[in-house]
């Protein structure tokens, strides 16, 4: 259905926006590198594709006059989500242009800010692109070439947002949020669900001790425990049968 498609696409856009922000934050610091620039470029492209897809979908849905009021309210809510994502993306793109220009990579003495971040951002970019591993194949003058592309992309995005504003008449302040305050404390995987799950939280205050596992480890351990019990049950059943038979 149109709504579910929209929601999945919006989720994807949301994820890419969040990852893009993380990447831009690393720009200009000691974790900056050629790879980062390339990651930025590819994330950006993906974000744009998603944005265009979302926009066409949502505009077509909203232009449809035959939808019910509830549906319309829901689409308006999705529209607000979409436009907020786009705003964040636009600002991040503009800032990445600025910082990229201020901190060129291919100069003899480069002064990257020693922020304490030294690791790479590969995993973040992989998450954004929804791939397992990132492959880097850009050439060495990515920073300058990329910036030109970036400028054109920024103008493209701004234009798109202006068009959106003009064509779609949605009053953003009239939209009511489905989440109440403190909703982030419950786990909520996507736009539409409201299932309450378990979220495991990492203690990351530098003063506190490091503790807590992370989500993947927990999941794996639960799986292992289940498998173990299954095997034990099977073994017991077999043993019982063997005893019976003998």
């Amino acid at each position: 259905m149109g709504k579910d498609e929209c929601k999945t696409m919006l989720d994807a856009l949301n994820k890419v926006t969040a990852c893009y922000r993380h990447l831009v934050i690393a720009l200009g610091s000691t974790s900056d590198s050629q790879n980062l620039r390339e990651e930025l470029k590819r994330t950006r492209k993906k974000a744009q594709e998603l944005a265009v897809a979302n926009r066409t979908k949502l505009t077509s849905l909203l232009k449809d006059k035959t939808i019910s009021k509830d549906d319309r309210a829901e689409y308006e809510r999705l529209w607000v989500l979409f436009s907020s994502s786009m705003e964040l993306l636009e600002v991040d793109m503009k800032r990445s242009l600025e910082i990229g220009q201020d901190f060129p990579l291919k100069v003899p003495t480069r002064h990257l800010i020693q922020t304490g971040m030294t690791g790479s951002t590969t995993t973040v970019a992989a998450r954004a692109m929804s791939v397992q591993n990132m492959k880097y194949e850009a050439d060495s003058n990515i920073d300058t070439a990329d910036l030109r592309d970036l400028q054109s992309e920024i103008s493209h995005v701004s234009q798109m947002m202006e068009e959106m504003e003009m064509k779609v008449q949605v009053a953003p302040w009239a939209v009511e949020a489905k989440q109440e305050a403190g909703a982030e404390l419950k786990s909520n995987m996507s736009v539409g669900n409201s299932s309450v799950g378990v979220i495991s939280i990492c203690e990351e205050e530098p003063k506190d001790e490091e503790g807590g596992g992370n989500r993947d480890a927990g999941f794996a351990s639960i799986c292992a425990v289940l498998v173990f019990f299954v095997i034990v049950t099977v073994a017991l059943v077999l043993g019982y049968l063997v005893i019976n038979m003998s």
């Binding site: 989720d11 949301n14 994820k15 926006t17 969040a18 990852c19 993380h22 831009v24 934050i25 690393a26 720009l27 200009g28 610091s29 000691t30 809510r77 607000v80 989500l81 436009s83 907020s84 994502s85 705003e87 964040l88 600002v91 800032r95 600025e98 901190f103 002064h111 990257l112 800010i113 020693q114 922020t115 304490g116 971040m117 030294t118 690791g119 951002t121 973040v124 998450r127 959106m164 504003e165 953003p172 302040w173 009239a174 939209v175 009511e176 949020a177 989440q179 305050a181 403190g182 909703a183 982030e184 404390l185 909520n188 736009v191 979220i199 990492c202 990351e204 530098p206 490091e210 992370n214």
Partner: protein, 657 residues
Amino acid sequence: MTIRNTLRDHGQRYRPRMACIKKAEKVLLEMQDPKTGVKSQPQRLVITTIPHAITGEDIITWLADRFQVDTQEARTFGSMLVALGYIYPLQDHKRLVIKPDVSLYRFQTPYFWPTQQWPVEDTDYAIYLAKRNIRKKGILELHEQEHYNRLHKWMNHKWDFIVMQAKEQYRAAKERKKPDRVVFDCQERAYWVVHRPPPGTVSAMDYGLDRLIDPNADEAKTPDFYERMMIFTQQAIMRPRVKSSVSISALVKYCATYRSHDPFLSKCLPSNPWLTDDATYWTLNMPNVEIPTKMRVERWTFSFAELLSDPRGRDDFRLFLKKEFSGENLAFWEGCEDLKWGEAATMREKAEHIYKTFLARGAPRWINIDGKTMEITVKGLKHPHRYVLDPAQTHIYMLMKKDSYGRYQKSPVFKDTLKKAICPEEHQFSDAQLGQNAKKRWPSLSPIILQQMEQEQKAKMAANVDITQLCRFTTPVPHLAVYSGLNDFPTANASPSLAFLAHTPACPSPISVALESTSASERRAEASGGESEGDPAARAPVGGNVSKSRMALSLRRLLKRGCTPASMFASLSPKCHSATGTSSRIQPISPDQPSQAPPRRIGNFFQIKVDIPPECRIYPIESEDEDEQSRAASRGGVGAKEIICPWESLTPQNGTG
């Protein structure tokens, strides 16, 4: 489309006060140099080690070397860098200063540098708070909670997005390695300490109002630009010039007088709260403090304006005037200020109230202004606006300044205040104590509460000052006689009656007292004038006032012939209607009064007095006078006579003004 940053986004965010930002960025880049920059060391946490931590003393020594300044200045500069957000402290993250010891700092990533092109968005702050909420499992600090609730209310339409984005950002952050995650959290937290400072933190990005135009930018040379230049130069030519000797001597005098009172140029006793975080200075100098400081009392002697602008000074002056029985001057001045600066909705009522209390004939707190000013004021009051009482106010201000102010400075009230004034000792805080003070900062009273307190005080003052003013009339004050003759009459009459009435056991409201007194005096006037007879009043014997008023009445008749402007005022008073009735030639403005009206009017007047009608008209000549009177007389209601303001519409139903 959502509206981003509704507050101040005019598309041009120039705040030229922050020119230091570009310069600070250059310094930051220099500090990064591996050879000549600041030496960094790794920070050891429980399990991880994070590089690129710098100590406070290293930063200060580097700055002192680089700019060839002394340590204290380098320390201030370093604190500024921290307050702006370029360097953030790792311990004690809420206090944005540099400590010259081994406490650790780190550089902030360029995305989180303070800039002016990218305003700090509430959406981002909401996402940050949501992330923090997740991490802290719902336990946020008090100010963060308040912000969270406020943002939830005002950004409700975006809340879904905020929650989604917060979760995604949280998960994306977990993709990084542990040390990087720690650093990222510190960075973000430091960014928001600078841009949404917790109460008590002073961040340098709190720079006040935004300017729309960058004055250093080159302006395009359009015809409009040249036109503005032309207008500017033309006005400059026409401006009256002051001799430089005069203006410079004024400046020198000002500097010499105020030098010791300026907290930048001389010591601020006991200590400057912005530097030492000790608020004693503010508590000692509160607007309504009992015992002022010596410096404050000294300021009152500089000029009358200083005295009036300081609330404590004004209180002292008010006390002095009360003793001198001329408090109505200050009260009138304050009323005019209130009118000038108050809301437009209540302006009319305020103007009326001031007129009734201070300016009308027989008003309870009548002020002494000359006839011309009174005429202008009353005329203007027909169409009241904010500045209608300006001439009167200026007159009273100059009166107070030239006369009462000098006496005040020699009075025992002032001398007493000066003797009691305190001179606090200077604080000597050690560094440890300064740190303690910084931790103990708390926000002051909300301005809403302060405003409410002020209103209550004003109401209290308004309620209990008027009764005592009546005592003024026990001795006829000489300045009353300065007023033009005809107008002297009612007040001269009023004074003994008021004095008499002051002894009445029940203390009625001032206006009704005044009205009764005026009615009583009118009655007496009429009785003495012999134009009518009748039972003057059902009240206590009036005594020997009758003869006095008779004399005054004849005096009035003599004088009225000479004073044409006064005749206007003659017609203002209901008492004088009798006079104008008898000599109709002194009614220049309403020629259509019938000749037989006077006796009728007098008769009506008398009836009005007897019946104590609800209205009593005081207004400049209107032809509807007599009709009003007759209608009022025929009605004969009960209640005190009221002073009606000149500008009110003259319908019978509207009598109560």
